[in-house]
Symmetry: C2
Subunit: 151 residues, 2 copies
DNA sequence: CTCAGATAGTGCGATATCGAACCAAATGGA
DNA sequence: TCCATTTGGTTCGATATCGCACTATCTGAG
């Protein structure tokens, strides 16, 4: 591995870091006070994937520590955007259900993002993005597997 | 914009968020106690780009609020990895210089990452990554410009 | 030169992130 | 069945992030 290649990989992760930073900030200024990107992301996941996930499933989906997810869910519950109910199949566990208020919150946020998507669609048409996705997903899966494999 | 396209853009930013999360964690478990990814990123930037940047330049490079950069630099300075000197061209400002210890720290971190790069190079050869970079950079620049343009 | 506004950086308070330690429930091998 | 181990979740404490407000300095119009 020569220095040039190494630099390339650094630049890749650096771009990802900056993109995360920009897109998160972009979303957060459009959310009501007291709510941040992870709140939206969880609501979105509950709708896009499915309701009734356990906290641990959510933590794994976003690759965050479970204590972080506990905290995020507490914020959502306090805001009445989700309900936590016991998991009938496992006494240790809970299941997270999105409320009507949660759906409204998510839909409003999406509506507030539509100017972004409009502008984005001009510079990055859906088929362009669709071409980028497989490699990004492959990279994410690779990195995920790697945690166990590398020293 | 139909729902399918919207979902596509969400998935894009979601992948970016998860990738950031995984790669940051991957790095941080390999850094000495008390240091985190932003510390490494700043040191790396000072070497890759150039020494003697101002805190504000660094904040802009990483798209973080300047108070966050103040905090990160304080950590680096406390650890003896950078030196902050007054900026002779502007009495309000400072310039950040990396120390010998800072260079060693960065080189050690890179050495600890080499197993990752080795594994990565198999699944994602440099030319594959090189193909991904321009679109990611273009997206980052687009998002950056967008902050002013959209509602 | 003057001063109103812009800019660089910091202090502070509120909240987020996350590792360590912990509890309770589930699992599975003897 | 029993109990050692694993697993889901929370609590707690340390540190990070970031918006707001502030100071010091610079800049430019007049």
């Amino acid at each position: 591995m020569d220095e040039h290649d190494q630099t390339l990989y650094f630049r890749l992760f650096n771009e990802i870091g900056i993109l995360e930073q920009i897109s998160r900030t972009f979303l957060e200024v459009r959310l009501p006070d007291g709510f941040i990107a992870p709140h939206f992301a969880v609501l979105n996941h509950l709708i896009r994937v499915k309701d009734g996930r356990t906290p641990l499933e959510l933590a794994r989906a976003f690759q965050v520590p479970k204590t972080t997810m506990t905290h995020t869910l507490a914020g959502l519950e306090k805001g009445g955007l989700v309900e936590m109910k016991p998991n009938p199949e496992d006494g240790r566990s809970k299941r997270v259900w999105i409320t009507h208020a949660g759906r409204s919150f998510r839909n409003r946020a999406i509506a507030d993002l539509s100017p972004l998507f409009g502008a984005l669609a001009e510079a990055f048409p859906p088929d362009t993005v669709a071409q980028m996705m497989p490699e990004l997903e492959r990279l994410r899966i690779f990195m995920d597997d790697l945690r166990d494999r590398v020293s």
